[in-house]
């Protein structure tokens, strides 16, 4: 009976695949191209800034209306910690999905909460980083590095924020008992988006912060 209901809700498709899952993969494919343009933009202008602050080098920059010597702007330990947190959030969300698929509500809520906390930490780290950079003299229009850096990492941060909102919404639904095992696909789709945000950062982290 329940099986018939499931068929009524999601009629068989020509591919035999759930159309919602096909849709999220198509969206992720288009997002690959979107981030490729932003990464290209960053790489094309890498090392072309005429004034500081710069990522890895001491430079001359305009701060409070006068030229001064600026130290390298990146704080690698903080970003490395943020990267590790984002990687672990991907691990936590697959555990939450595993819990949802097995109908284990306690595990679903626990791991999904951990994922949301990790996502919030990452967003907080990025807000701190942007604020810190701004106070060190790196505005959006200061130099080519500032423009391409804020555009790339800003769009990624926006994606993380949307992911956190999506996962937090699912967490509320899970707490209310509205994500039973047969509806675990709802979490799987959100998890796919979250993993995509993670893989984009896997590329951004070395390209922006570590490469010369």
């Amino acid at each position: 009976m329940a099986h018939d209901t499931a068929h009524a809700m999601h009629p068989p498709t020509a591919t035999g695949l759930d159309t919602r899952k096909l849709a999220i993969w198509t969206f992720i494919g288009s997002e690959c191209l979107f981030f490729a343009t932003l990464i290209s933009n960053y790489l094309v202008y890498k090392g072309k800034s005429l004034v500081g602050p710069l990522p890895h080098e001491t430079s001359q920059c305009m701060l409070h209306g006068q030229m001064t010597t600026c130290e390298p702007i990146f704080e690698i330990p903080l970003v490395t910690f943020g990267t590790a947190v984002l990687l672990f959030s991907s691990f936590f969300v697959v555990l939450a999905l595993n819990g949802a698929q097995q109908g284990n509500r306690k595990r679903l809520i626990g791991w999904l909460s951990a994922t949301v906390v990790c996502g919030l930490f990452f967003v907080g780290m990025q807000v701190y980083e942007f604020t810190h950079f701004y106070h060190k003299g790196l505005g959006y229009t200061t130099n080519l590095f500032g423009s391409s850096f804020y555009t790339l990492t800003g769009f990624h941060g926006t994606h993380v924020t949307l992911g956190v909102i999506w996962l937090a919404t699912l967490l509320v639904l899970a707490i209310r008992g509205k994500i039973p095992a047969e509806k675990s696909l709802n979490l799987e789709i959100a998890a796919l988006y979250w993993h995509f945000v993670d893989v984009v950062w896997i590329v951004i982290f070395p390209v922006v912060y570590l490469m010369r």
């Binding site: 809700m9 695949l17 690959c32 691990f91």
Partner: protein
Amino acid sequence: MDAQVATHEHAHPKPALYLKVAVILFVMTALEVLAFEVAHRSAAPLHGLVEPLLNEILVILSAAKFALVAMFYMHLKQDSKIFSGLFVFPLIIATVMIGALLLLFAYLRTLHPAA
């Protein structure tokens, strides 16, 4: 998910495998940062070896991490090949596009070095 879907989408891995992948990802991230630190400290051991190869090391580690997340966490290894196609095809276009733009701008700079 209905039975029709289940015939094309296979069972997902166990949590123990997810943990192994997480540990490997963590170690690879540590290696990336270690390579960066070694390349930027002239007194560090292996500096002469790592410094000229830093970008190559980072690309290889990053690609390996990307593949691990896509295969195991995004379940491309178990799921339908259609999903893999929807992800990999744009990824190839994206990679070619990045390469083409870098080559184009490098060429333009040889024509106009001051630009």
